[in-house]
Symmetry: D2
């Protein structure tokens, strides 16, 4: 069965407490919707989201940059140690998701947003979480909607966890498959 | 929690019926041992092993070569579409396993056996399943034990599914970590 | 001998004529400085830069997304067909460069700028070339200097080809090696 | 221009002197034929082949496993630091070659022979060089001709450097493109 996979992306460290709370709530809502949660398997936003999903009995998947499953956070059911490093692992995380929710985020999270756009994976950024999730809306084309002039995909923004999860689920299947990946 | 992951590798097509039966039995035994089953997510040996694991309520993981989860067999719980193609995906399958059981196998399966050896992942080949699982014993160094003169790891052989699964589980943690991966 | 490698990144299509002229001039200046030119091996900015480098007798290297060298532009001496697709190939392009000059650029070029920042590769963006090379200065942290709050590396901007090439060469070796790649 | 690329694969250490001499002669013959030499950029067989090619004024390309060009041998003109590790870098080496000559070789070289077979790249093994180049002829299907029962490609064997280089050049373009890579 191909269960729905919702990716959650965001910083692995130095994350404000209110963002961690939102990430945890998003994890719980993903699990309650019957979807599996995909993330980078590490800490910060990733761990909070996984903890939330496990509290609701959900399935959690972590795509690790290194070679050892011991690098993962304790709330991941399925850890995939790619050994590809951070930059390449971020691509596999995006490919394994049907839609993606972004909170906060330093440059690694920005790279995942870029991959989502390149791969035609619906992307919902949590507007008030700071970092690149916030900055994208100010800086990307057309009030944050597009990451380039071609407008390959429309980026969405949400204020609350429930809104983000609903949007992510609703957007699955609405983006045409990209021609170049 | 880092559950034990047992990889099952083998051909995706043109597999003799007795090999499919052994693969299915191996999948069931892996699940009964409480381990997750990792494979390439496709058909033939992979599908049979997953079907066996699901029959016993186990968790199944499939690392796909392409970009779409629709390429997977229906008995996989967690499909990871790497988009890396066959040759590279085979490396991620091996990296995601703690030990590996090999049945039959054409050149793609041979490449996975080579990666297992390079990554220090215990490898148990089903002797009577034909293909490279059989051929390795005849051709590799020291009666099939090693894949090169350095003897980085000892390859094991089994005749029956129960023996293979027991060996794979027992061998986890016995191989020193390789210096070059 | 480890010759200096200067990467040139930018769009492969729909590039304004003045940007192509600048890319060609940059290619020529790189070759005249005795450095090799690295790029994605395709068209638009990449082809213009390679043409400029070859006119000055330079060495040109193209890292291709696909499996066939026939995908490359005719001004590349060494084509490497990675077969990794666009997103992953862009990482190898950055890794093969000691410093990078960015012109114009859609989202693929943005991803290369992100990888440059993650890998600690000095990055000089041509301010007037439009696309993300221009947009970065407006949107990135601290007037375009950084791609996240950690300030891992300082992004530089230039107005003219000679200034960009001089800056790129001068910046090599000035960025500390990143801890996570 | 798409120059012909001949790959040379073999062990990076503990290589018998007569094999290094053959590798050097092969490098020289590749350069004299006007082809570029592709290899893994490191030592042993790779360094000897590059030294031979440079002595004849040829172009040498090295695909490195790590992130730094300082890992390469001093006879490589173009070093590509993939940062992908040994197992994945070996795939890029094969993809960058039109035909491949194999000398000696431990398990890493075997993996490159497997990738050559999977990618439909003509492969010539130096019969008397020992290691897997020798062992393949004894153990692969049909007296060493094939690496699986599907016979995707015919592996060739040679005794002398000149014979190996001539065979490699003659075989380019004779293998049908594989359906699964």
């Amino acid at each position: 069965m191909t269960t729905t996979h919702i990716g959650v992306i965001g910083s692995g460290e130095n994350v404000p407490e209110h963002v961690l709370q939102d990430a945890e709530a998003i994890g719980t809502l993903i699990a309650q919707a019957g979807a599996a949660l995909v993330c980078g398997g590490r800490f910060g936003v990733m761990e909070a989201a996984c903890r939330g999903a496990k509290a609701a009995g959900g399935l959690t998947i972590g795509i690790l940059p290194g070679l050892s499953r011991s690098e993962g956070n304790p709330y991941v059911d399925v850890l995939i140690p790619t050994g590809l490093g951070y930059a390449l692992r971020n691509i596999i995380t995006v490919r394994s998701s049907d839609a993606i929710i972004m909170l906060h985020g330093e440059v690694g999270t920005l790279s995942e947003a870029v991959f989502a756009y390149q791969h035609g994976k619906p992307l919902v950024a949590m507007r008030c979480s700071g970092g690149w999730a916030h900055r994208l809306e100010e800086t990307a084309f057309d009030h944050g909607a597009h990451l380039d002039s071609r407008g390959l995909m429309h980026i969405h923004y949400a204020d609350r966890p429930a809104e983000a999860v609903k949007l992510a689920l609703d957007l699955i299947g609405t983006v045409p498959e990209p021609s170049k990946i």
